[in-house]
């Protein structure tokens, strides 16, 4: 049953993406940035999904520390990995966009720096997990680090904001001039990527559970 739901989710996500990419390609070009501007339809949803993944990872980490249930640990690692993938693509698409419009791949501006710090923090989380053998200890330490990392993100964002910012301010909720039908396409892409993220997280979750089952069987075999 779970397989079928995931399969349907994946197919729906792909369908929306195929239709939406086609529709986006037909949209008129933006006056100043031309066709380059259309990268926004991928760049912004990536970051929203990454933020959601980080939030899920935090909730799962807190859940593990409270309940000591390994399902939460598996959820934390799965959503962190998927979130890291989204963050990576977000950084790459942003970098390409910056190269086209600003003429540079990278600038040490508020959002870029804080995004990079997030990427490094969550990569550190995965490295920390790799370095610990014992499952309970690994889950506990990783959860603690995840909480530390999540608290850090808003502080980093606010502190770097006091520097000059080159990245444009949000155009969606603070009175920007984004046409409504473009917003629709963006939201569809958002939905597609969210579904994709859910599918990937669920698959990764399954792997993690299978891994623990294998570990426990192996331990049993050793005990016999």
């Amino acid at each position: 049953m779970r397989d079928k739901i995931l399969f349907v989710f994946g197919v729906v996500a792909m369908g929306i993406l195929a239709w939406n990419v086609n529709a986006i390609a037909r949209l008129p070009e933006e006056t100043q940035q031309g066709v380059t501007f259309k990268i926004i339809f991928f760049h912004v949803p990536m970051w929203m999904c990454a933020t959601m993944a980080a939030t899920v990872a935090l909730l799962a980490s807190v859940g593990f520390l409270v309940t000591k249930n390994f399902k939460f640990d598996a959820a934390a690692v799965a959503s962190t990995e998927v979130g890291l993938a989204f963050t990576t693509i977000g950084l790459v698409t942003g970098s390409i966009w910056g190269r086209q419009i600003w003429g540079i791949w990278w600038t040490w501006d508020a959002r870029l720096t804080s995004a990079l710090v997030c990427w490094i923090l969550y990569a550190g989380y995965l490295m920390l997990r790799k370095a610990i053998e014992e499952p309970t200890q690994r889950a506990t330490f990783a959860a603690v680090f995840s909480i530390f990392a999540f608290i850090d993100v808003p502080i980093v964002v606010f502190s770097i904001k006091w520097w000059r910012t080159q990245h444009p301010q949000p155009v969606f909720w603070s009175g920007g001039s984004f046409p409504p039908d473009w917003t629709h396409h963006l939201m569809w892409n958002m939905l597609a990527m969210l579904l994709l993220g859910i599918v990937m997280t669920a698959v990764r979750l399954r792997q993690e559970e299978a891994q623990r089952e294998i570990d426990s069987l192996r331990r049993m075999a050793h005990a016999l």
């Binding site: 520390l65 710090v117 490094i120 923090l121 550190g124 490295m127 920390l128 370095a131 610990i132 053998e133 309970t136 200890q137 506990t140 330490f141 603690v144 680090f145 909480i147 530390f148 990392a149 608290i151 850090d152 502080i155 980093v156 606010f158 502190s159 770097i160 006091w162």
Partner: protein, 226 residues
């Protein structure tokens, strides 16, 4: 034994152990000296450029050299299973953490206070124009460094690649604190007092210290006992 008394006992124990061997503090100061030397090749060490770079330079020295002290903090307890005895001792994990953090704070602060005049002599900078405020910023920045460093030292003490993992985890978390400390130090070394422009950095540094001290005290029991 009360909470603060327990923390004080742990702190005195750590300081006594360190002062008998002096292994961490010597290594840390020697390392600070080496980085100060290396920086002289990185840019033209004239008074003006040095003042502009002083905040970043000093805090990179402090963060790198301080890690040597922090790495030893819990690793020192591994031989003879001292760590197990400490965890089993009838004091709370938070008191153990606070004691260790305070001891580390004293050691890192000592390294910084020796490094500062050396920096002043090598780079020809009158760094003591705003001594009181500089000391305050130093103390706040060092507390951020030691709180994060001590909790992650406890976290990484038993894992593979301990020496690599500690800086990997601490520096990204420390970004906001180091940024604030760098900005403030640069201003103060240049001779400007903390004004309305820079006071936000000070608030941020204090906020970072308070937030992470609270989270660490809350979570350290989980880290130590599991």
């Amino acid at each position: 034994m009360g909470f603060f008394h327990a923390a004080l006992v742990i702190m005195m124990k750590d300081l006594r152990a360190e002062l008998r061997t002096k292994e961490a503090i010597n290594a840390s100061f020697a390392f600070a000296l080496v980085i100060l030397l290396l920086f002289s090749f990185a840019f033209d060490p004239e008074a003006d450029t040095t003042k502009a770079l002083s905040g970043g330079l000093l805090w990179i020295v402090f963060a790198f050299a301080g890690t040597l002290v922090l790495n030893r903090s819990f690793a020192r307890e591994l031989p003879n299973d001292c760590l197990d005895a400490l965890v089993a001792a009838p004091i709370s994990g938070a008191a153990l953490f606070l004691g260790k953090a305070l001891a580390n704070f004293v050691l890192v602060m000592a390294m910084e206070l020796v490094s500062l005049p050396v920096f002043g002599i090598f780079y020809n900078v009158h760094w003591a124009n705003q001594l009181g405020e500089l000391l305050m910023v130093l103390a706040l920045g060092t507390w951020a460094l030691t709180v994060i460093g001590t909790i992650f030292s406890a976290l990484t003490v038993n894992i593979r690649l301990r020496e690599v993992m500690l800086p990997m985890l601490t520096y990204p978390i420390l970004v906001p604190a180091l940024m604030a400390a760098m900005q403030l130090t640069m201003q103060l070394v240049s001779g400007n007092a903390i004004g309305p422009e820079t006071v936000t950095w000070l608030k941020m540094l204090i906020g970072f210290d308070v937030a992470y001290t609270a989270v660490s005290l809350f979570l350290v029991e989980t880290v130590l006992v599991g």
